[in-house]
């Protein structure tokens, strides 16, 4: 089962993870990205490329399903404005054994960072700035090359 969602609504972790465990899944790995509130950010805005975003996320989920023999893969990404402490993204993978679930989860979040067309803009009071891409994200994604 693959589920991909890009939405302005808050992410409900309990619901997303409850839906992923199908028969045969012994382990569920997940990663949740949260708006950090410790560097003065008062609001984070996420812009994306409708249509292309969903296609990229589906493609990554399909790659993960095939490479790690997953039972399920879920990618939920929030867009629009959000407050510190709110969830930006949830990636979850279910597999018969934990090694496959954990690796596939790391793959999905690493590759989402470099492959999916999202852009972050930070508000610090009245100051607004677009977030720069990080060199380390490219390196993290590159380790999954086959």
């Amino acid at each position: 089962m693959i589920r991909v969602s890009v939405d302005t609504a808050p992410i409900d972790v309990g619901i997303e993870l409850a839906g992923i465990a199908e028969s045969g899944a012994g382990g569920i790995a997940s990663f949740i990205g949260v708006v950090r509130g410790d560097d003065g950010v008062t609001c984070l805005e996420l812009e994306h490329y409708p249509g292309m975003t969903e296609a990229v996320l589906c493609d990554l989920a399909e790659q993960a399903m095939a490479r790690w023999g997953l039972v399920s893969a879920v990618v939920v990404h929030r867009v629009g404005p959000m407050d510190p402490g709110e969830r930006i993204v949830l990636v979850a993978t279910a597999a018969a054994h934990r090694g496959a679930a954990l690796e596939a989860c790391a793959f999905l979040i690493d590759r989402l960072k470099t492959d999916a067309p999202f852009w972050k803009r930070e508000h610090r009071g009245r100051a607004v700035s677009w977030v720069d891409a990080r060199e380390s994200d490219g390196q993290a994604a590159a380790r999954w090359a086959v």
Binding site: Y49, M52, H77, F118, W119, W130, A133
Partner: protein, 83 residues
């Protein structure tokens, strides 16, 4: 040809999308960016530094030297920062 702009490229140009008909000499994405710079001061400012730009043709990421071919939708934007 439909053009889409995102993030600060969109902000600087002032619109999120527009339809254009580039001349025959525009063969690659880089050619297109170069040609767009002549459309307005805002275009020139947004597209000044090619190294800060990325592109997608018909919703697939491409290198800037990619041929446009029969492209219907070209998107120009900064490096992505999601997740």
């Amino acid at each position: 040809m439909r053009l889409l702009y995102f993030a600060w490229v969109r902000e600087t140009i002032g619109v999120g999308e527009e339809d254009v008909q580039p001349p025959e000499a525009v063969r690659t994405v880089a050619d297109l960016i170069d040609w767009l710079r002549g459309c307005s001061d805002a275009h020139a400012a947004a597209l000044a530094d090619m190294t800060r730009l990325r592109a997608a043709v018909d919703q697939k990421f491409v290198a800037l030297d990619t041929q446009l071919g029969a492209a219907r939708e070209v998107a120009i934007f900064p490096p992505v920062t999601g997740g």
